[in-house]
């Protein structure tokens, strides 16, 4: 047995030294930051993450989900260090309930809601909702996803919510909602503009901002990340010009 395994010794030793070296270099220069991100910001934050890693050497690890669901995990001691929410209420709640560091919440973007269909060349608009000539309309779960809440507000403001109620299908988060529309299982759906900003095809109507409350999206430093330089660096980077450029590219707005 010993003879048989001896050939393993050399590579194992090499591997061990590499691992030790890797650990040491991580400790010295770069660290990891675990970031919980609302689903609508997925594409943008991946780009920002790559730029962040290049600029600082810190490695971001992203978890995506609906804002409500992610916060639920935060309350149960999830290891996230930064929370990139799709609303302002949840980060505020995180501070109030003692999970986040007071004074670190800031609005990194304002979201745009869009009515989207996979079919090309449709003239989508208010009239589409009033006519209701579709069998299914997809929205994100309004109880956990801010874009879902905004979608309900739009339908209520246009006075079509009761008429359309029976046609609504809910995605667990905005990503699944997009999937329902993208597979054409639902003819139309309210999704985040950022999800289709860089994708051609289909028909889209950017919902005027006066039809729903502003989707101001806040990020906050969680207490678990209060002593992690990488977490603080990520927050700073998210406010910076490089991140802003990416955020703008995906069609988000800013409060200032």
């Amino acid at each position: 047995m010993r003879a048989r395994l001896s050939w393993l010794k050399l590579p194992m030793a090499a591997l061990a030294s590499v691992m030790i070296a890797a650990t040491m270099s991580t400790a010295a220069h770069a660290a990891e930051v675990k970031v919980a991100v609302a689903a609508n910001f997925t594409e943008a934050v991946k780009e920002i993450g790559a730029l962040f890693e290049k600029a600082t050497g810190h490695k971001p690890v992203f978890s995506f989900g609906p804002t409500g669901g992610l916060y639920n995990q935060v309350t149960q001691a999830a290891p996230f260090e930064v929370f990139v929410s799709a609303d302002q209420a949840t980060p505020a709640k995180a501070i109030a309930e003692g999970h986040a560091v007071a004074g670190t919440a800031f609005t990194y973007a304002t979201g745009k809601l869009v009515l989207f269909s996979k079919t090309d060349g449709l003239n989508l608009g208010e009239q589409t909702l009033k006519d209701g000539k579709f069998t299914k309309i997809a929205i994100a779960n309004p109880k956990t996803a801010p874009y879902g809440t905004a979608a309900v507000e739009v339908m209520q403001k246009l006075g079509v919510y009761d008429a359309l109620k029976g046609k609504i299908v809910e995605g667990n988060n905005i990503a699944q909602t997009y999937q329902f529309v993208d597979t054409a299982n639902a003819e139309v759906g309210f999704i985040a503009f950022a999800q289709i900003a860089l994708k051609p095809g289909g028909s889209r109507w950017v919902v005027p901002a006066n039809l729903h409350k502003t989707i101001a999206q806040d990020a906050v430093l969680l207490k678990t990340g209060a002593n992690n330089d990488a977490a603080k660096a990520f927050i700073a980077f998210l406010k910076g010009p490089e991140a802003r450029k990416v955020i703008e590219k995906y069609g988000y707005g800013f409060v200032d």
Binding site: N72, K136, T144, N185
Partner: protein, 229 residues
């Protein structure tokens, strides 16, 4: 949170039981001939068929959910069927959930029935044949009664597994109250929105239910096992 809303709790329970009940009946109707063929056939490729039936045991629900979303949708066969009565898709419908559940729970029904058919061997059927029973008659009056424990176990497991289905339904259901918002999805919703009282009631009920079901199958197995010997 406010007062408990019992309609909110009852609707998913009723829907889930309906789904499991219809699924179990369909599973027995479709699963029995498959189990019979798998038990009696000498075809070389029958284990390949058995493998296909058993695959949902191993595949993640997301794989099934993904394919079902495409197959049930307007560009798949499901959309074609839905078109026959003027709809566009079978996703987001109770029918869609039934189709998904039948595929997903099939191995839990076919396997015990196949085992039961195999357990009594060729002898009883040969005897029936010498007594001039037609194959159809022999199937109903000899094979089915002999395989009764297999049918019972299969039905219980198929029912219970459908009750516990989550991932597939989350992916193809669209969370519609009274139509596709089943128990497991309702629990998920309650947990995600921090309505833990409701979540506790439903989740606790599921724990008790699962205990009862598994205990019942085990006792059933013991009883028939001893009788058979």
């Amino acid at each position: 949170m406010g007062e408990l809303n019992f309609a909110q709790l009852w609707s998913p329970i009723r829907l889930t039981i309906e789904l499991a009940f219809i699924t179990t009946i369909l599973l027995l109707i479709f699963g029995t001939p498959i189990a019979w063929w798998l038990a009696r056939s000498k075809a070389r490729w029958k284990e390949a068929v058995a493998t296909v039936v058993a695959m949902p045991l191993v595949l993640p629900p997301t794989v099934l959910g993904f394919y079902l979303l495409l197959l049930l949708g307007p560009n798949g066969p499901g959309g074609w069927i839905a078109g026959l009565y003027g709809a566009r898709t079978l996703a987001f419908t109770f029918t869609g959930l039934v189709i998904g559940s039948v595929i997903y729970s099939m191995p839990f029904v076919v396997q015990p029935i196949r085992n039961a058919f195999e357990a009594f061997g060729d002898r009883p059927l040969e005897v029936a044949a010498t007594l001039r029973a037609s194959p159809w008659d022999a199937f109903w009056s000899v094979a089915v009664p002999l395989a009764r424990p297999g049918f019972l176990t299969g039905a219980i497991l198929g029912f219970a597994h459908t009750i516990g289905e989550f991932g597939v339904i989350l992916m193809i259901g669209g969370n519609i109250p009274g139509q596709t918002k089943v128990l497991s999805v309702a629990i998920y919703d309650f947990v995600e929105t921090q309505h833990w009282t409701e979540a506790h009631i439903l989740a606790g009920g599921m724990v008790v239910f699962s205990f009862a079901v598994i205990l019942a199958t085990m006792m059933l197995g013991r009883r028939y096992g001893q009788q058979g010997r």
